[in-house]
């Protein structure tokens, strides 16, 4: 047995000399180390040996295996080409660029809507949606904008047929919610709105708004200020100032436009804020009693406030984007920036 092992050892030494290619090395490996190889055959013989020899011969076989493995590995390395041999000598360059996985992004408009939703969710507002194609009633009459009223000029609208329109504001959702639900109500309604505006850097015939509505007993204008102040500080930053200006919306009374201090010039005046130090970000007010009447709410018992903001507008302000069209071109170079 031991002699046979010695013989194998010798045979290998001579066979090595005839190895000239990777293929030969691989054949050598199969011949000696394979599942049906010579060494394996020796292993199979062990159980048939006398018990006192088994350990010693087993050891010899194992050492032979190690020896052959080393020889074969060396040969494999030698013939398997430059790459392997080079790599062992080269220093690994840790500054090579990493292999990045593909990463996508939510659209910036979605990100803004999500940010707004998050702030208001923490204040207990639920998110609701309404149809984009609407009866004129929900877009106008129920919101205290009668036909032929001059304020309709402020609300140019796409028509589908007679009294069916594309909503020009998300305020429609106020009515839809209040028709179905009694106070207390605390909702925000994000969505697409449409106005027949010619597209340019500042206008688009389609854009996004977020509407908010809170109705309960004892809700006041001071609460409106409080809630919007929370939103502004959270979304735009703690150091941003808020300013309310009287304004007019048919569906709120009193009505306000809300400005924030221009974050670009810190209120000193620049082109973004038209040198006023303030930029308008949303419209708001106390729900007009006529709106409550349209949904059969008790105007003495309940008060409420509503607000609406243009998503593109505040996104452009926050990120310094100068052209609204970028949002709809969906250039990946744009989308990947945010």
């Amino acid at each position: 047995m031991l002699e046979k092992l010695e013989e194998v050892k010798k045979n290998i030494q001579s066979e090595i000399k005839s190895v000239t290619a990777l293929k030969d090395a691989e054949q050598l490996k199969v011949k000696y180390l394979g599942r049906k190889g010579i060494i394996q055959d020796f292993m199979k013989l062990i159980p048939s040996l006398p018990a006192e020899q088994r350990a010693a011969i087993g050891q010899r076989i194992n050492s032979l295996k190690t020896e052959v493995t080393n020889i074969v590995d060396e040969l494999l390395k030698k013939f398997s080409g430059e790459i392997t041999s080079k790599a062992t000598h080269e220093i690994f360059d840790v500054t090579l660029p990493g292999k990045r996985p593909l990463v996508g992004k939510k659209h910036l408009i979605t990100q803004t809507i999500d940010d707004i939703k998050e702030v208001f969710a923490r204040l207990g507002f639920d998110v609701v949606y309404g149809p984009e194609v609407e009866s004129e009633y929900y877009n106008f009459e129920a919101l205290n904008i009668p036909a032929d009223h001059p304020s309709r000029t402020d609300f140019d609208t796409f028509y589908i047929k007679n009294d069916v329109i594309l909503r020009s504001q998300t305020s429609t959702v106020q009515i839809r919610v209040m028709e179905k639900q009694k106070p207390p109500i605390r909702i925000i309604a994000p969505g697409r709105v449409y106005r027949p505006d010619t597209v340019d850097a500042r206008h688009s015939f389609m854009f996004h708004q977020v509407e908010g509505l809170l109705v309960d007993e004892g809700v006041s204008f001071a609460d409106l200020r409080g809630v919007l102040n929370q939103f502004i500080k959270t979304y735009f930053g703690r150091d941003v100032q808020m300013r309310f200006r009287p304004s007019f919306f048919p569906f709120t009374e009193p009505s306000a436009e809300v400005d924030i201090s221009c974050s670009l010039c810190k209120g000193k005046g620049c082109s973004v804020c038209s040198y006023s130090g303030w930029v308008e970000i949303l419209g708001a007010g106390m729900v007009d009693p006529n709106v409550f009447k349209a949904v059969h709410y008790d105007v003495e018992k309940y008060t409420g406030f509503a607000f609406g903001m243009g998503v593109e507008r505040i996104t452009m302000l926050k990120y310094g984007i100068n052209d609204i069209r970028l949002f709809y071109e969906n250039d990946i170079r744009f989308l990947s920036q945010f």
Partner: protein
């Protein structure tokens, strides 16, 4: 509205620089958009909201300034001398439509001299962007800008039959307006006519024939009130808008006619010489009744969140020229000035108090009650989908809902109903609500290709609009387009469904491809009894790559999603894996093989994983080799090799019997 700073000072005393004045106006609701210095004056551009027509005159703005600074308003002079001849002798007036024209007045000035207006007047008009014409036209403009009340001067000699009739237009009548526009007139339009023909479109614009010219000797000065909606409709119908129609549409001061008329006559008397005929020809239906409103102090404080006393509110209302009829600690009764038509309810008074008190002096309370908000299932699904897709490298796109009517954009996978068209589109490119999101994603892909983006993975969540009874059905869809192969996209859809907890299996059925997909590489996806969507390789030839895309019914995903989870035991025993390759007819689908394997009903089989399909030399023609592995694992024991062998044989038997599948020999 543009106003002159110097002009404003004529009616109210204030000591504010233009910028300070602007800040004050802005904070009371008259936003100053711009201040321009014009010679020794300033032009202040004030944005007047549609509810405040009273501020469409300098006096109206002066009243606001007076309320803010606590001053009083000095109204302009209206004194002049008149001759003995009565206006009513010179012209007869008939108002046939008293509802559309509740008040009509005419005054006459004879033997005037038409010439340029005085320099100070021209300067003011120029300051606010008006072009001086002649003294008469300038004076009517000046007084309109001063009082907010439009006026019109006719050349008296050109009015036939010495008659003014306020009536509806007759069919066939037409007019050439001062701006040169010729317009056919219809019965629903109100006109000012003389004995023969219309000489003005009421409240909108006068006629060219009767306008004041160099040769005009006598004028009739019209100062009237027209019904706002009538003016608005006619202005829209004729396409003529003017400073006059702008004011009438919004509603003028019902008590303002007299001041404006007398003021204009005074200025004509002063600057065009002439003899003023005595009196006025004045037709008025009914009298204006001042509105009375009660303001409850408790309500005021409740709505605003303030704790102010009655005297503070009362002082503000007085400064705004509200007439206090009665006041006690708990309420104030007021009479509203005629020019504040929009104030007719208690809430309107509350706004007035808040405005002057200062919105920014109202506290910022954070006393709303605590309330937990809950995400709807829709929101959870939308968020999960976005999370999932962005996590595997997809960008979210947002494309327009309004598209063109090209065949590609008109594709409708969801319904055979017609598309929903816009009745008043701006352009053909945006004239129909889309019925499918995929064409927009194809365009987005092309756009990116043209901007050097080689590979893209995009998706959009948006609505498609399917014609309905009254309102269209709005279906929310999820569409995905990427430069990946069919099976990779299919796998994404499968993983997405799994991430939404949708465990029921989809059926993937061959589909004709429509205009969107390659016919031999597209499928309709069925989930239960509903169509979940359509998937396939893009047909569009413009691409160098072969992108695939899918449109799914997101509303259905919301309905089928299930986020309730319960822990499942993990087996403590080792799994046994068996690799198998079978040879089947080419037509045999993987779906049928899988179904067949499952039919063998091996309780401890835990997974079937397809890994290869092979056609080639060793496979007879018309056949294919399908390789897969099966995973066996029990929860209660280590599986014995023999029982797995038995199970494997049962599966192979089932495959052979049902599909004629043979085990492929190594």
């Amino acid at each position: 509205m543009k106003i002159s700073y110097n002009w404003l000072k004529e009616y109210v005393n204030f000591y504010l620089l233009p910028q300070e004045l602007s800040d004050k106006l802005t904070n009371t609701g008259l936003v100053v958009a711009d201040i321009q210095s014009v010679e020794d004056d300033f032009c202040i551009d004030v944005e007047v909201t549609s509810n405040r027509p009273d501020c469409l005159g300098v006096i109206g703005i002066a009243r606001e300034v007076a309320a803010v600074v606590g001053a009083s308003v000095q109204y302009p002079k209206t004194n002049y001398t008149s001759t003995d001849i009565e206006v009513s002798k010179l012209i007869s007036i008939a108002v046939e439509e008293p509802i559309l024209c509740p008040h009509y007045t005419a005054r006459i000035v004879r033997h005037i001299t038409v010439k340029p207006s005085p320099e100070w007047m021209q300067k003011r008009l120029k300051c606010i962007g008006l072009r001086p014409v002649n003294n008469i036209v300038d004076i009517t403009n000046y007084v309109m800008m001063e009082t907010g009340q439009p006026l019109h001067a006719f050349d008296l000699d050109k009015l036939s039959d010495k008659k003014i009739i306020v009536r509806r237009a007759k069919s066939g009548e037409e007019i050439v307006a001062i701006n040169g526009a010729r317009r056919a007139l219809f019965h629903d339009m109100l006109v000012i006519a003389d004995g023969k023909r219309p000489v003005a479109i009421a409240g909108i614009m006068g006629g060219k024939d009767t306008e004041v010219s160099e040769s005009t000797r006598h004028i009739l000065l019209e100062c009237a009130q027209f019904e706002p909606r009538q003016v608005r409709r006619t202005s829209k119908a004729t396409g003529i808008a003017s400073d006059s129609s702008y004011r009438f549409e919004r509603g003028i001061d019902p008590e303002g006619v007299e001041l404006a008329s007398k003021r204009a006559v005074k200025l004509i008397n002063d600057y065009a010489e002439g003899e003023v005929a005595h009196g006025v020809n004045d037709i008025r239906s009914g009298r204006y009744e001042k509105k009375r409103i009660t303001l409850r102090i408790e309500r005021l404080n409740k709505v605003l969140g303030l704790e102010i006393k009655r005297d503070v509110a009362s002082d503000i209302l007085k400064r705004l020229q509200f007439n206090i009829l009665n006041e006690v600690d708990t309420f104030i009764d007021v009479e509203v000035p005629s020019y504040r038509g929009e104030v007719y309810r208690e809430i309107d008074l509350i706004e007035e108090v808040a405005r002057i008190y200062g919105y920014n002096n109202i506290p910022t309370k954070t006393s709303i009650s605590v309330r937990g908000s809950v995400k709807s299932k829709y929101e959870i699904v939308e968020d999960s989908v976005r999370h999932f897709l962005t996590g595997i490298g997809f960008y979210e796109a947002k494309t327009f809902s309004i598209v063109d009517t090209s065949p590609l954009q008109s594709v409708n996978l969801w319904s055979d109903r017609a598309g929903v068209d816009i009745a008043n589109p701006l352009r053909q490119e945006e004239s129909r609500l889309r019925t499918c999101l995929l064409p927009s994603l194809i365009r987005t892909r092309i756009y990116n290709m043209h901007h050097g983006v080689e590979q893209a993975r995009i998706f959009e969540i948006a609505k498609v609009y399917l014609a309905g009874e009254k309102l269209p059905e709005e279906k929310t869809c999820l569409s995905i387009l990427a430069d990946i192969d069919f099976l990779t996209l299919k796998g994404i859809v499968e993983s997405l469904l799994a991430s939404l907890g949708i465990t029921s299996k989809c059926e993937w059925m061959a589909f004709d491809g429509s205009i969107l997909f390659k016919a031999d590489k597209s499928a309709k996806i069925q989930l239960g009894n509903n169509i979940l969507g359509y998937i396939g390789e893009v047909k569009e030839l413009e691409f160098k790559t072969s992108p695939c895309m899918v449109e799914l019914d997101l509303d259905l995903l919301v309905k089928m999603s299930n986020f309730s989870k319960y822990f499942q035991m993990l087996s403590q025993y080792p799994p046994v894996l068996r690799d198998l390759a079978i040879i089947v007819d080419e037509e045999v689908t993987w779906a049928s093989i899988e179904k067949c394997i499952l039919a063998a009903n091996i309780s401890f089989m835990t997974a079937i994983n397809f890994f290869d399909i092979y056609y080639g030399k060793q496979i007879p023609s018309g056949k294919k080799s399908i390789a897969f592995n099966l995973c066996f694992q029990a929860f209660d024991r280590t599986l014995k090799s023999e029982e797995v062998d038995v199970a494997q044989q049962m599966i192979l038997d089932s495959l052979y019997k049902t599909l004629g599948a043979e085990l492929r020999k190594q």
